[in-house]
Every structure is written in structure tokens, then in C-alpha cells.
Amino acid sequence: MKLNLYENKEDLNEHVDVYYSNMRPVIRQLIDTVNSERPKLKGRPADEDLDDGEEVILDPREVYYLDHIDRKLFAYTKDGVFRLMDTLTSCEEMLWNYGFVRVSKSNLINVYKIKQLKPDMNMKVYASFDNGERICVNRSYKKSFNDYLQKMRRMG
């Protein structure tokens, strides 16, 4: 995408014009950023030794997947694991345009971070990530996962 920046110190009415051919997720992300509605995931390190009591703002693009365990929601990134205060359902709605899709009752995965999607010998399908972790794509979510990928590609 071509980016043009124009500096005009006399123009106090700052504005952004977006020319697009297709309202795809990256355009929606841009709109969110301009409207200051870019989703932010607030979390704290899951490891209590690393938790200094301050909230950390996570960029959704850096998150591999979200895992809901024992009524707690965790975000897995390259830098570690963070506990989030949101619910999995609210994250699912908030992060739809950011590549996040539900693959089981307790997991949302970031399709931009998937390194490999592969079934193992017992036919369970796993999404692998750079951090070496893998998440099972549940059979019940196979159709919605496929629909999501098709939509993302069409909008792509």
C-alpha cells in the first residue's frame, strides 16, 4: 500500500483520506487506528515473578493465540504469556479484523501467526506457531474456521 504524507503547518484541519478498492481487514485496521479505536489488549504477565503490578498493552498483531483456562484468559506472544481481563467472546468480536478466529471452545488463534496447519496421525488438526506451541482445531469449528479463511481471502 502506498503511503503519502503531506505536511502543511497552516492547515489546522488535519485529516486522513483513504482510497481503497476493497474494504479488507487492513483497511479496517487503518480506520480503527485513525478513529483511535484500535483494539488494545490489556494484560499482566502470567508469571507472578515478572508481574510488577502494571498493566501491559499488547498489540494484537504480536499475539499468537488466546487460551481460556480455568475462567482465566491468557495471551501467548513471542515475549511471554499474559493474563487478560477481557472475555474470550469479546476478544473474538474485537479481533475479527485482526486475523483472530475461534478454533475451539477455549482458543482464538491469529491466522497471520500460523506457521503450519497439519493433521497428525490420529487425524486431529493442529495449528503450529513460531514459539513451538500448537493448538488443536476442533472438528466442531472446522466449518466456521474455513468460512473465516475464505472471507479473509476474498477481502484480502
Partner: protein, 143 residues
């Protein structure tokens, strides 16, 4: 619940039609014949097969391979009960040859369909992986 029953009956109707027409074509080719009891047994077998395969939601947490095996064993057990009941109604015991023929004609399509399912899991996953790569490439080009 009502919707589930309707869906089940539609699936049963489709399965029975396919099996029945397939059986009729096979009979025309090899010159075989059927009778009323065979029709009932064929319908009951379709009912059991459709019912057992419809239970797949219960096996969501186990591997598909285990699901296929467990469903096959469950279907075999239910079919055995059905054959015993039919034999009791007819007042005849089922011969070993009868058992063998029944399970052979039940197992062969099951194994073929299971193999097809196995193939579909791998081919669908490959397609999904290609889609993911395409989405990732589009996203990196759009940046």
C-alpha cells in the same frame, strides 16, 4: 430437538435411497434377488449406521481415528442385536455364513467411507493451509 430429528430423518432417507438403489443396480448386474426381510434389514442397517454416525458430536474431544473405530464397534454391536432379533422373529438361528456375509457387506463400505474421511481431513487441511499462506502473503504485500 425437533430439528435434530428432522435432520436425522432426512439423512436416513438419503442414505437408505442410495443403499437401496445401489443394491437394486447390483442385483440387476449379478442377477440377484431380494425379499421383504432383506429390505427391512437393509433399512434397519441404514438406521443404525446413520444413528451411530450422528453421534460424532459426542466424540469431539477424542481423535477422529478413535471416533471411527468406536463408532464402528458400536454399529457392529447394534447390528448384532438387530440380527439376533430378526432371527428370533423368523424362528431361525443365524448361520455363521449369514453373520460373515452381513458383517462383510457392512464393513466394506464403512472402511471405504472411513478411508475417504481420512483423505478428506488431510486434503481439507492442505487447502486451509494454502489459504492461510495466501492471506499472510496478501497481508505482507498490503503493509
Amino acid at each position: 430437538m425437533r430439528e435434530k430429528i428432522i435432520t436425522f430423518l432426512i439423512e436416513l432417507g438419503c442414505v437408505y435411497t442410495i443403499v437401496s438403489v445401489g443394491g437394486a443396480i447390483a442385483n440387476m448386474i449379478v442377477g440377484g434377488q431380494t425379499n421383504n426381510l432383506n429390505v427391512i434389514v437393509m433399512f434397519m442397517t441404514c438406521f443404525i449406521g446413520t444413528f451411530v454416525l450422528n453421534l460424532h458430536k459426542l466424540f469431539d474431544k477424542v481423535s477422529p481415528l478413535l471416533m471411527i473405530v468406536v463408532q464402528y464397534l458400536a454399529a457392529c454391536a447394534l447390528c448384532a442385536v438387530m440380527i439376533l432379533i430378526v432371527g428370533w422373529i423368523e424362528g431361525e438361528s443365524v448361520s455363521p455364513r449369514g453373520w460373515y456375509e452381513f458383517y462383510r457387506s457392512f464393513t466394506i463400505p464403512y472402511v471405504i467411507l472411513a478411508g475417504y474421511y481420512y483423505y478428506r481431513v488431510f486434503s481439507d487441511t492442505k487447502k486451509q493451509e494454502d489459504l492461510i499462506k495466501e492471506i499472510q502473503e496478501n497481508a505482507s504485500e498490503g503493509k
